[in-house]
């Protein structure tokens, strides 16, 4: 099953040159993965490259259609901790 780029992608180009199978292409309103070409990086890298560099939570779905970088995974602050972290930061 192929990875997918979905809404939320900001077309930052980071993933495109990393894809070992050339499956990612520039499109509007955002970049896309050509499903037939995607190998999920198997045989090339331990981690899927697009999902490993994407800076936006939720913009990439894995082979099962699940969000590869769920909320809080990239900021390091899980959703249930946001209020607490915000109070801490605002006290600086």
């Amino acid at each position: 099953m192929a990875f997918q780029i979905v809404e939320g992608c900001v077309s930052c180009w980071a993933c495109l040159p990393l894809c070992p199978s050339g499956a990612i292409y520039e499109a509007r309103p955002h970049f896309l993965v050509e499903a037939a070409k995607c190998t999920v990086c198997e045989g090339d890298y331990a981690d899927p490259q697009c999902a490993s560099i994407c800076p936006v939570e939720g913009a990439i779905l894995d082979g099962l259609g699940l969000v590869a970088n769920p909320p809080g995974s990239l900021t390091g602050i899980l959703p249930e901790r946001v209020a607490e972290a915000m109070a801490e930061i605002q006290a600086r």
């Binding site: 900001v10 077309s11 930052c12 180009w13 980071a14 495109l16 040159p17 990393l18 890298y45 331990a46 981690d47 490259q49 490993s52 560099i53 800076p55 936006v56 990239l74 900021t75 390091g76 972290a85 915000m86 930061i89 605002q90 006290a91 600086r92």
Partner: protein, 504 residues
């Protein structure tokens, strides 16, 4: 299509008129005189490395590098607003070929252009093919233009030799910390060896690469500027240590910049309510670091596609689609550029020579001031040259100088209406005016070309002396005169508390 030529009549006239009359700008302020000749030559026409050069020369950034290999909490990659000015933001992404076309056209339009940099909008070295292709082509077609690059440093050690091949003489590395624990609060992740790495380990690798890259560049004689973003409660107390470390590893210049964080920017810090430093906090930090390290105080935190003199951005006016129709006679443009740069240098040399021989201006004025007088902060409205040539109400920034009996020194600059923040800035002028006055709190005088009745009254109320008497006169000389007048009025005797000073 004919584009508007420079804001001044002719570049040659600019050269003849400009230049600092006193030693504060090129001498003490820049401290260029204490540098070996080979380095002085490298920074003399680079507006980001020499405070004096930024009065005379222009720079441009070409936005060819979209991708990034790290995440910083002060950056949001999806934001693009033509009204917004901060690093990491661009309006159009260029291919290397488009970038070269744009440089050629802009260089013909702005003959003061001396420097072209790649600064983003991502990390230039996370896009090595695009960045290096741009440098390769520019080093062939515009060999007289200096090339520089800004980077987060993660990919730097592996690319140092490539950068040297294209004679990149200036590199800026953003180093916000040298302690991974602090780094973990600034960088949530990095992309390294084909994996995403989070937390302290990510910061540790990043810092290691940054410092290694810095050392490698310094060994090869490349001038390195280190940018550090001051983030209160995170790295503010740590930046003195950063300054010491980067100096020890051969950095040429340290640029301490205030965090820019507003909720509307959509950055992590902006959304979470992390504050930026006050002008006073930034100034105090700069003072602490100034003893050990050459500091940059005139940084304008440009966008990654900024074009023009430092502090002005003609990026929108000089967008590629507007330039594409222009037929550029490159040979002619290069000859004109050579001529303009020579005129600028001749003007600067004449001024420097004049200073050495007669030095009638501020030095003598200063000598007459009583040495016991205290330092005074004064604000200046200027269009970006070294004249007092701006209307107070039209200033987008005010330059703050510290004036003493011995010298006039640029202490910093205060933004006045940098962001479009709705009615507050775009609607009626009153709140803006009060904000402007608040921005120059601590100053005792403001020099401008003209000033309205209302701001005059409000400034006086705030204890700041408005002064329009030196319109179109050189900044430093005028400040020295005002200082002498204040001394003669008996306003500058022994240090008074700031509270007394404001109501004096």
């Amino acid at each position: 299509m004919r584009l508007k030529v420079l804001s001044r009549d002719t570049p040659v006239a600019l050269a003849a008129e400009s230049g600092c009359p006193s030693g504060g700008c090129g001498g003490a302020g820049d401290a260029l005189s204490d540098l070996p000749e080979v380095i002085r030559d490298k920074v003399r026409d680079h507006p980001c490395y020499s405070e004096e050069a930024h009065h005379h020369y222009a720079r441009m950034h070409v936005a060819v590098a979209p991708a990034c290999n790290i995440q910083c909490h002060y950056c949001n990659r999806k934001y693009d607003c033509s009204n917004e000015s901060r690093p990491g933001v661009v309006s159009e992404l260029l291919s290397p070929e488009q970038a070269v076309r744009k440089v050629m056209a802009v260089a013909a339009e702005i003959p003061q252009l001396s420097v072209v940099g790649v600064a983003g909008p991502g990390d230039p070295l996370a896009n090595p093919e695009r960045t290096l292709a741009t440098f390769r082509q520019l080093s062939e077609t515009a060999p007289d233009i200096k090339l520089c690059v800004s980077t987060n440093g993660l990919a730097l050690p592996g690319l140092v030799d490539e950068l040297c091949r294209y004679d990149i003489g200036h590199v800026t590395i953003t180093i916000n910390c040298v302690d991974p624990e602090i780094g973990a609060r600034i960088y949530p992740w990095i992309f390294w060896n084909h994996r995403r790495i989070k937390g302290g380990r990510a910061a540790e690798i990043l810092i290691e690469q940054q410092l290694k890259g810095l050392e490698m560049l310094a060994e090869r004689g490349v001038l390195v500027k280190v940018n550090s973003v001051m983030i209160p409660g995170v790295n503010d107390r740590h930046l003195e240590e950063v300054s010491r470390v980067v100096k020890g590893k051969g950095a040429f210049l340290h640029n301490l910049m205030p965090l820019i964080a507003e909720p509307e920017h959509g950055t992590f810090y902006g959304l979470m309510g992390q504050r930026g430093p006050s002008d006073d906090e930034l100034g105090a930090l700069q003072e602490k670091c100034a003893g050990g390290m050459r500091l940059m105080r005139h940084c304008r935190q440009c966008r990654a596609d900024a074009v023009g003199m430092l502090g002005e951005d003609r990026g929108d006016e000089l967008r590629l689609d507007k330039l594409d129709g222009l037929a550029v006679d490159y040979e002619k443009a290069m000859a004109e550029r050579r001529q303009v740069h020579a005129a600028i240098e001749a003007g600067r040399q004449a001024q420097e020579k004049g200073l050495q021989e007669s030095f009638v201006s501020s030095a003598q004025i200063m000598r007459r001031a009583i040495p016991e007088t205290r330092p005074v902060l004064m604000a200046v409205a200027s269009e970006g040259g070294d004249l007092i040539d701006q209307h107070f109400g039209q200033a987008r920034e005010l330059l703050v100088y510290e004036v003493t009996a011995q010298e006039v020194r640029l202490a910093g600059r205060r933004e006045v209406d940098r962001y479009c923040s709705g009615a507050d800035a775009c609607g009626d002028g009153e709140p803006l005016l009060r904000r402007t006055i608040r921005a120059i709190e601590g100053c005792e005088a403001v020099l401008c070309s003209k000033i309205g009745y209302e701001p005059w009254g409000l400034l006086e109320e705030a204890g700041i002396l408005p002064n329009g008497e030196h319109a179109m006169k050189p900044i430093e000389e005028s400040l020295a005169i005002v200082y002498r007048e204040m001394a003669a009025d008996g306003r500058l005797y022994p240090p008074v508390s700031s509270e007394q000073r404001l109501t004096a």
